[in-house]
């Protein structure tokens, strides 16, 4: 599981983890039954407080996105197929932030959309 932690981001680290895991599950890069790294492993990899990881996992478990399996730790729960709307709803905040920045910079709608397409094209193909 790929995780990007930005500690100096204004979003608390636990929420960054929750958001990223949620996006990966909804997007399908994390599938039902996939094991997540243990709290200790994840904390150690990113040199962060294990309680932070614990909290994020706890929240995801409460949400029903993850479940605890004996001997395996946290695993992605079986869930119904995500609705297209759900994925767009999760993408919206990032785009709203980008829209605000575009406005501040005086970048027009067409230019901004063209730039976004460019950014999407630049990404490596999803597995």
């Amino acid at each position: 599981m790929q995780l990007d932690i930005a500690p100096h981001d204004t979003v608390p680290i636990y929420r960054q983890i929750v958001d990223q895991v949620r996006r990966q599950v909804v997007g399908g890069s994390l599938k039902p039954g996939d094991e997540l790294p243990s709290v200790r492993t994840l904390a150690n990899t990113h040199a962060i407080n294990p309680m932070t990881v614990s909290r994020a996992y706890g929240l995801l478990e409460a949400e029903g996105l993850l479940e605890r399996r004996r001997g395996l730790g946290m695993v992605v729960a079986q869930a119904p197929a995500p609705q297209p709307d759900q994925r767009l709803a999760l993408l919206a905040p990032a785009l709203q932030a980008a829209a605000r920045q575009a406005r501040e910079l005086g970048v027009g709608s067409d230019e901004a959309v063209a730039l976004f397409k460019h950014c999407l094209a630049d990404l490596p193909l999803a597995e």
């Binding site: 500690p7 904390a43 309680m51």
Partner: protein, 286 residues
Amino acid sequence: MNQAAQLDNAISCQGLHLALGGTPVLQGIDLALPAGAVVGLVGRNGAGKSTLMRALLGLSPPSQGHSQVLGRASTHINDPTREQLGYASQTGDLLTWLTVWQHVEYIGSFYPRWQAAQAHALCQRLQLDERKKVSALSVGDQQKLALVLALAHDPDLLVLDEPVASLDPVSRRDFMRLLFEGDAQRSQPRTVLLSSHLLTDLERVVSHIVFMRDGRVQLQGAWDELQDQLRQVDLPAGSPPLAGTLHQRSLGGGGQRVLVDARLAGSLPQQARALALEDLFVELNA
């Protein structure tokens, strides 16, 4: 504060005052930090961080007020409690004529829970040449040794005064990981109090933050909560004050930069922004 509350808190103090050479250094500190917390103590040089740590550990007596660590009054720390404390001061307090290896063996003799094998292994991991005398170590390596000596008896409370100031980023990362090592085997995670100017490092690991300025605590709390609750807003001149304002300063042109508790402020203007630790530090010390 009653006995039960004191035990839930690994570190607490009430109205702590301390003067050094006639100069007030701590001017009424109140703290309540739970067991298992990793507390970042931040403030400009001279804010009183080192003095606070020393007072909490009973190394410098206060002129007024009380403090407790691990349920004991700081002024009455007994041997069993002392064995639960680990402290690395800013200067390291090392004996220059001893080698690294000798330090580990010497300090180890004071602690029943000392794990000599682990301490030596820690030195290896931190790439400390155990044969070297302290006087021949770089400042960074001296800091690493001070850390080993503070950690090796597996204390319940670790107090570290600017422990990583001279370490490179890779070593600092390793140090962060070290703080949590052994937690899985403990019934309760270790409590850590550390001061540092490296705020991006602190942000990775702290559960709580205490901001100090001029011998007083400006702000303390769980860091996740503070991040969620605090917002910075720039108000143009003539704006009505916002409810929940914690701090403000004038900007050029009559405007005000304001720190608000979003839960009390009601609806916030569009431009309210969340803050990283460094931003908050700058605002509180402006």
